[in-house]
Subunit: 245 residues, 2 copies
Amino acid sequence: MAERLNRASDRPAYRQIADRLRAEVARGDFAPGAQLPSESALEARFKVSRVTARRALSVLVNDGLAQSEHGRGYFLRTPPPVQRLSSDRFDSRDAGTEDAPVEVLFVGRGPVPAKMAERLGLVAGDDVIVRNRRYLLEGRPARSAVSYIPLDIAAGTPIAEEDPGPGGIYARMEEQGLTFDKYDEEVTARVATEEESRLLLLPGSTPVLQVVRTAFADGRPVEVCEAVMDAAAFVLDYSLPARRS
Amino acid sequence: MAERLNRASDRPAYRQIADRLRAEVARGDFAPGAQLPSESALEARFKVSRVTARRALSVLVNDGLAQSEHGRGYFLRTPPPVQRLSSDRFDSRDAGTEDAPVEVLFVGRGPVPAKMAERLGLVAGDDVIVRNRRYLLEGRPARSAVSYIPLDIAAGTPIAEEDPGPGGIYARMEEQGLTFDKYDEEVTARVATEEESRLLLLPGSTPVLQVVRTAFADGRPVEVCEAVMDAAAFVLDYSLPARRS
DNA sequence: GAGTGGTCTAGACCACTTC
DNA sequence: AAGTGGTCTAGACCACTCT
């Protein structure tokens, strides 16, 4: 028998169906990663057209609860393990604990984008060392990061190499005698671009967190890093000391 | 004459249309807030069905570029003025500069939600003072915030009143002799819930930034505040001092 | 081959806004 | 009344996955 919808309600059919699916998900009817009812299953169950069934499922997809796979079905999104990026994460580089698996996409010379040039005190188009990489979390890409480093700091050093060695590029900079002052971070959120969706294997248009970090050493900017991460997978932790009385 | 689409392309018609609209927007063909072509206009222009025209427009809506208004049309979203929340924003309370227009939605006693109880060292359901408010930015609601303050700190003080007075609740706490130690902030992003979309006047499902701040004074948590803001309108600024050698 | 989602069409009725 | 977006139907063809 067909499950009944309140067709007189203001709440459209597709939302009512989505509400029921959401409730079932919340109740634990589906294991993480489990397949949700197919479009045709919903058509039969609620006696609606395929478009309506699709719309209901797309609500869940849009909310980040589900994900569709062409030819396979709709699946409950496995909540990605939440990764906390805490504000003291730069303290750990000598300890060598910050070793998320990294996939290097590009390392080399290239022109600096306008937005980044400003932060580095350069002019748009100036050449810098570009380091583009992707961090994995339990085998899945979760974060992409692009760093821009002025040539006078990076050129001819391990910083311009694929593998900059233990402790990463910050350790190399310190070995050059640079002393870090501070890191400024600008946090924003938006929907992923199509390219980012591909890169991070995100469904459709899901939200991402974007962090633009400028590292300062000896009073000058020495690196700008733009990181884009699956918003569902990250919590950014910051601890702000109270101003002193 | 109908504008031609590449029907042989892998890129679906609705995306091609969306791409062209996006390009026109980028080129500045539409003023901020201006009306975009209507669904029927796109039907005629590209000789597609209404569903396809709709889909194209909904791509722009989904990306946060446009917004539909029932019975009126699709409009380019005015980029909301970006508000920067910097990490030193708590230093300004005596200066009285932190006076964004505020709309108080609720102030009173209420049970603390489980997630917040933990941070305050309380048990879920314990009563606390709840302060629910909405901040306006150029007349538009841009940020909602709910604070939870333990009763022993807030009950019977201006902190439990609608208007806590100049400098806000932090100033009142200091007057009680509390000395602030630090503020811990957890930043996440996600799509707005339906309720949040109503509260912040956001179209459909747009991304929001969520900041959960725990304020510590004299070694104990004295306030938890959950803020939800239109991601398009905010940049969060944090400055992290480098660890000292 | 059967089942799945992705795209598209041509129509319909409704609710809202504007004139 | 005319134009707009919001919902819904019944069908179609395609691409992908699985067995």
